[in-house]
């Protein structure tokens, strides 16, 4: 059973709001970079980058991160069934104000893996986390700095973040 949480219109304005919040929290003198996690985080990152360009005319470097190698639950089954996609971070993170973007933040394990991965790409000035949905239920002490929507759902419900680039439409749904 699907329930709409954010409509396409609200989705778009959430991204806009996050983009503005980011620009208010950075020092425009220093380089800025944005890295999206796995598939959906990458598209979100690209949109945020494009919004930021629009807002304050900064060209943002966008990186793509596959965290599979750093997962703490990497089993033989996962290795053999899930194709690891290519990580592409065509810049050094050294000295950069780095924004990490993902679609849903729940346990925090994915972000923990992303952090372990990113340390190999240079020491950033700082790293902030932007997510479309924060649904609580942390298992690791991770906090999002920029959030599209805070949700409190029980375990039976799952979140679906839809993106035009993949699903043809934008939106956030809960499914049980």
């Amino acid at each position: 059973m699907k329930t709409e949480i954010l409509s396409q219109k609200k989705f778009k304005s959430a991204i806009k709001r996050i983009s503005h919040e980011i620009t208010e929290n950075i020092d425009l003198e220093f380089p800025l970079a944005i890295v999206g996690v796995r598939t959906r985080g990458i598209f979100l990152a690209q949109r945020i980058a494009s919004n930021i360009k629009h807002i304050c005319d900064i060209d943002l470097l966008v990186g793509e991160l596959d965290v599979t190698f750093y997962r703490d639950d990497l089993s033989s089954e996962i290795k053999r069934s899930k194709l690891v996609t290519k990580t592409s971070i065509p810049f050094s993170c050294k000295g950069k104000q780095l924004i990490l973007v993902d679609d849903v933040l729940q346990t925090g394990r994915t972000i923990r893996a992303a952090l372990s991965s990113l340390v190999n790409f240079g020491r950033p000035k700082f790293l902030r986390l932007a997510v479309m949905v924060d649904r609580g239920k942390r298992e690791f002490p991770i906090k999002a700095d920029f959030v599209g929507k805070n949700l409190s759902l029980d375990n039976k419900q799952s979140i679906k973040v839809l993106l035009k680039e993949i699903d043809g439409v934008d939106g956030v749904f809960s499914v049980c």
Binding site: F69, S81, L83, S116
Partner: protein
């Protein structure tokens, strides 16, 4: 994006793999190539895993390639070499293997002068076994990196013309390459002197010719094999000079070749025998890329088989 399962415990031969499994491995290799391009060439996926390179036959480059691959995945890599002469009595293959397993090895990479030895070990051991070359039978990781190299340049295998030149009868690289290329839809021609073409060669699935010009004409890829004249008691071919004159790849022989011909060699090259130095270093050659991709391919395989 193909995400079929890779179901096998061991990697013993290309003949055992389905075309989907081969493509999965090739796709996976892209990610590891990226790791090799980073400043810090390390990912933690095989941390705490033990990879043993057990080489019964001398080899610097394949072993080094596996060692680098394992270390970049954060594995503990041990190199063991062992002589295996047919007259030597002593520890049986099974005993050697059992000892290694007792040390809680996760992956065993084996190169052996006898066809079938890695398959035997795969049956006996519960850890994963990777065939790094067995006798004249197969060299699956070489074939995978050859296929990856070809794909980088040619994109598609369907109807691609690939010629393999050299001592086909004694070549494990040839057998693995032929199997992989045929599975992916390429047309394969093998070429060499009659004394180096195996009995019933048609059963391998490739077109057979003893005429080098015939093999080069229309070829999109040319894989040259290393000639070891000491094999077959030296009777397979009268001399290195005669081989170079009839089957050596040089600029003259390539005069009518396709302008985008790829030239490959599993290495090490006998410069001046199977290939002239100009060709080895020339514009068609992708031999150094093969070595580069070899590490990424082997990382891909270690990653998948390490449990």
């Amino acid at each position: 994006m193909i995400t079929k399962n890779f179901a096998k415990k061991d990697l013993l031969s290309i003949s055992d793999l389905s075309s989907e499994e081969i493509i999965f491995l090739l796709n996976q290799t892209d990610s590891f190539r990226e790791v090799n391009e980073r400043d810090i060439k390390k990912v933690p996926t095989l941390r705490g895993k033990t990879v043993v390179n057990l080489f019964f036959e001398a080899s610097t480059r394949t072993r080094a390639s596996f060692e680098i691959a394992g270390k970049r995945l954060s594995a503990d890599v041990i190199n063991l070499s062992s002589t295996s002469s047919s007259s030597r009595k002593g520890e049986t293959l099974r005993d050697t293997a059992r000892n290694i397993e007792a040390m809680a090895t996760d992956v065993l990479v084996v190169r052996h002068p006898s066809s079938g030895a890695p398959e035997y070990l795969g049956r006996e051991l519960s850890c994963a076994v990777i065939n790094a070359g067995d006798g004249c039978h197969e060299h699956p990781t070489q074939a995978l990196l050859d296929l990856y190299t070809i794909r980088e340049h040619k994109k598609e295998f369907k109807d691609l013309n690939v010629s393999i030149v050299g001592d086909i009868a004694h070549s494990r690289v040839a057998r693995s390459d032929i199997a992989g290329l045929l599975k992916l839809g390429a047309n394969v021609t093998v070429c060499g002197p009659s004394t180096m073409i195996p009995a019933k060669a048609e059963c391998l699935g490739a077109r057979v010719t003893t005429n080098l010009d015939d093999a080069i004409r229309d070829a999109d890829v040319l894989i040259t094999l290393r000639i070891q004249l000491e094999r077959g008691g030296g009777l397979a071919f009268p001399s290195a000079r005669e081989y170079a004159n009839t089957f050596g790849i040089n600029e003259d022989r390539l005069a009518n070749a396709n302008s985008d011909l790829l030239i490959m060699h599993p290495g090490p090259i006998n410069r001046g025998i199977e290939m002239s130095p100009n060709v080895a270093d020339g514009p068609f050659s992708v031999i150094l890329e093969q070595v580069e991709y070899g590490v990424a391919c082997r990382m891909s395989i270690l990653y998948l088989l390490s449990g």
